[in-house]
C-alpha cells in the first residue's frame, strides 16, 4: 500500500492561513490504513485548525469530509458539493489523489496535507517500511523474494557491497543489508547458487526514469 505522513502542523497552517473556507478532505484507502489521511484524521486536523484559527483572530470556516479514495472518478463525483463550497481544499490523500482531485476541480486550489513517502507494508500497528520501487521489471524471482532495488541502499543488483556490516547496511545499523537477507533466504531454500549469477545492467526504461508511465487494458475500455 501507499504510505504517507501528515505534513507538520506548522507547514499546513502556513498553507491554509490566508483562506476563508477550508475543506480538510480525507481518503479512506491506503492513507487511512496508516492513520495519516482518513476521514477521522481529517476531523482531528480540522479541529486543530479551528483552534489555531480562533487564536490567530482570523475569520476561518473549516469543514471536514472524505471519500473512499481520491484516485477514482466515481468517488470524486461524490465530493462535488463539499468541494464547490470551499475556497481551498486541503487533501489528505497521497500525491496521486491530491492531483486527481485537482484535475477534477481545476478551478479550485488543492493543497497537499500529506507527504507521500513509499510503497510499503504494515510491519506492526503504526509501523511501516518500504518494499517496492516500482521499477516496472520485477526481479524478485532472482533474489529470493527480496527486492534489492528497494531494500539495498545502493540498489545493487549484484551485491552485497563491502560496507555490509553484520547483516546491516553501512548507512544505519537499523537498516538490514538486503543482500545479506537475500543470501540467507536463498541458502535456506537451497537456491544459494542464484547469488553467483551475474545480473546484467538493468533496463530502467520501465521505471520512472523512462518518463511518466501509463497503462491501458484494451479489453476493459468502455
Amino acid at each position: 500500500m501507499i504510505v504517507g505522513k501528515q505534513k507538520s502542523f506548522e507547514e499546513i497552517w502556513d498553507m491554509v492561513r490566508g483562506y476563508k473556507k477550508v475543506l480538510v478532505f480525507g481518503c479512506n484507502t491506503c492513507v487511512a490504513i496508516c492513520h495519516e489521511g482518513g476521514s477521522k484524521e481529517a476531523e482531528i486536523l480540522g479541529s486543530l485548525l479551528r483552534m489555531k484559527a480562533k487564536q490567530a483572530n482570523g475569520d476561518m470556516e473549516i469543514d471536514t469530509g472524505g471519500i473512499e479514495r481520491q484516485c477514482e472518478h466515481e468517488y470524486l463525483d461524490q465530493a462535488t458539493e463539499a468541494v464547490e463550497g470551499a475556497d481551498v481544499i486541503l487533501s489528505l490523500a497521497c500525491g496521486a489523489g491530491v492531483q486527481f482531485l485537482g484535475e477534477k476541480f481545476p478551478h479550485k486550489t488543492v493543497l497537499p496535507g500529506l507527504n507521500t513517502t513509499f510503497i510499503g507494508v504494515v510491519d506492526a500497528p503504526g509501523e511501516f517500511s518500504e518494499r517496492c520501487q516500482m521499477c516496472g521489471d520485477c526481479i524478485l524471482h532472482l533474489t529470493g523474494g527480496i527486492c534489492p532495488i528497494t531494500r539495498c541502499s545502493k540498489s545493487l543488483m549484484n551485491g552485497p557491497c563491502g560496507g555490509s556490516n553484520n547483516g546491516s547496511c553501512e548507512i544505519n545499523p537499523d537498516v538490514p543489508c538486503a543482500w545479506h537477507m537475500i543470501h540467507e533466504r536463498l541458502e535456506a531454500q537451497g537456491r544459494g547458487h542464484l547469488i553467483d549469477i551475474f545480473i546484467p545492467p538493468k533496463n530502467w526504461i520501465t521505471s520512472r526514469a523512462g518518463g511518466p508511465r501509463k497503462q491501458k487494458r484494451e479489453d476493459l475500455a468502455t
Binding site: 545502493k154 540498489s155 556490516n165 546484467p200
Partner: protein, 311 residues
C-alpha cells in the same frame, strides 16, 4: 603489445612476475593543484601505480579523472577510480573514453560510499550500474569494442580493469564467491580492503587459492599503517567492514607515547613481509592517506625499492 590487455606499467609489472607495489593519492577538496603535485612527488619512483579516488567517502573533491591527468603529467601512472554513485552509464562510458584518450590505462570499478556519509547527504544518487556491471561495461568496451547499447566503438579503450574486495565484511562465506563473480565478469586485478586481521586474511587467501582465482586475477593486499591509537580505535568501531583485532590495539598502546606511529609502521612492514610469501598474493596496495611523505621510507624498509623499470 598484443600480449597485454592495456600495456600499462602495473600490468607489465604483474605479468612479468614482480611483486607489485601501488599507492594512493586523494584529489584535493578544491582546485589546489600544487598540493596534489606535492603529494604525488613523494610517491614518484616508489610505486608502480597510484590510486586516484573518486569523491571518496561521498565528499565532493576534484574529479578523479582530472587528478589522474595531473598525475600523468607528473610522470606517475594513475589507477583511475570510478564509483557507481554519481554517474549513469552514459557519463561512465563517456569518461572511460575521455581518460583513455589522455593516456590513462588502469581503472578501478567501485560501488562508492553512500552519499549519506558525505558532505552532500541531500544529493540524489545514481547507481544506474553497480560495480560488477561497471566491470562488465569496461570489459565489453575493451574486448568487444562495443558500448552497452551494442554500438561499435571506433578505437576502443584498452584498460587494465581493477576492482575492490573486502575479505572482512560479513558474511565471510560470501566474500570469496563475490570475488569469483567479479573475476568472471572481467576484473584483471583486485585490491583488498586494508588488512589488520592476518588470520582471517590467511583463511581467505587459502579459499582463493583453492578455487584457483589467483591464477585468473592478480590480488594486491591492502595495507594501511596505523598512525595513532585514535586512528586504530576509530577504524575498529566506526568504519563499516573493517576488522581490527584487539591484539593490534594493545600492541600500539604498549609502544608508548610518541612511539605509536613508528610501531604502526613496524606492524605494517611485518605484514608486508608475510604477504610477500603468501600464496596467491601478487602485490601490496599501500594506502598511506595524507601520509604520503612516509611512503618512500616504508617502501625502502619493506624492500620494495627500486621499482622495476619495464619497457
Amino acid at each position: 603489445m598484443s600480449e597485454y590487455k592495456s600495456g600499462s606499467n602495473l600490468e607489465k609489472v604483474l605479468k612479468s612476475g614482480h611483486f607489485a607495489f601501488t599507492g594512493e593519492c586523494g584529489p584535493p577538496e578544491g582546485a589546489d593543484v600544487e598540493h596534489l603535485k606535492e603529494k604525488a612527488a613523494h610517491l614518484k619512483g616508489c610505486v608502480d601505480a597510484v590510486n586516484v579516488t573518486d569523491n571518496q567517502t561521498a565528499v565532493a573533491r576534484m574529479s578523479s579523472w582530472a587528478a589522474s591527468l595531473i598525475l600523468l603529467q607528473e610522470g606517475l601512472e594513475p589507477n583511475f577510480q570510478m564509483v557507481c554513485r554519481d554517474r549513469n552509464r552514459l557519463a561512465m562510458q563517456s569518461d572511460i573514453l575521455g581518460v583513455y584518450s589522455h593516456g590513462v590505462r588502469n581503472m578501478l570499478c567501485l560501488s562508492g560510499d553512500h552519499q549519506r556519509f558525505g558532505d552532500h547527504p541531500e544529493a540524489k544518487n545514481v547507481f544506474d550500474l553497480d560495480s560488477m556491471q561497471l566491470i562488465y561495461t569496461v570489459k565489453t568496451m575493451r574486448d568487444e569494442g562495443k558500448f552497452l547499447s551494442g554500438k561499435e566503438i571506433k578505437v576502443h579503450p584498452k584498460f587494465f580493469i581493477g576492482a575492490a574486495c573486502n575479505p572482512f565484511a560479513e558474511p565471510f562465506a560470501l566474500r570469496v564467491r563475490r570475488l569469483a563473480k567479479k573475476i568472471a565478469v572481467g576484473a584483471d586485478f583486485i585490491q583488498t580492503q586494508c588488512i589488520y586481521n592476518m588470520d582471517k586474511f590467511r583463511e581467505f587467501m587459502k579459499q582463493v587459492v583453492d578455487l584457483g582465482l589467483h591464477e585468473k586475477c592478480y590480488i594486491l593486499a591492502g595495507i594501511t599503517p596505523m598512525k595513532s591509537l585514535g586512528m586504530a580505535r576509530y577504524m575498529a568501531s566506526k568504519v563499516p567492514g573493517m576488522d581490527v583485532p584487539d591484539s593490534l590495539i594493545e600492541r600500539l598502546k604498549g609502544a608508548g607515547k610518541g612511539k605509536v606511529a613508528e610501531e604502526g609502521i613496524r606492524l605494517a612492514l611485518e605484514q608486508i613481509e608475510e604477504l610477500k610469501e603468501m600464496k596467491g598474493v601478487s602485490g601490496i596496495h599501500l594506502m598511506a592517506i595524507e601520509w604520503e611523505h612516509r611512503v618512500p621510507e616504508i617502501a625502502e624498509r619493506a624492500g620494495m625499492l627500486p621499482r622495476p623499470q619495464l619497457s
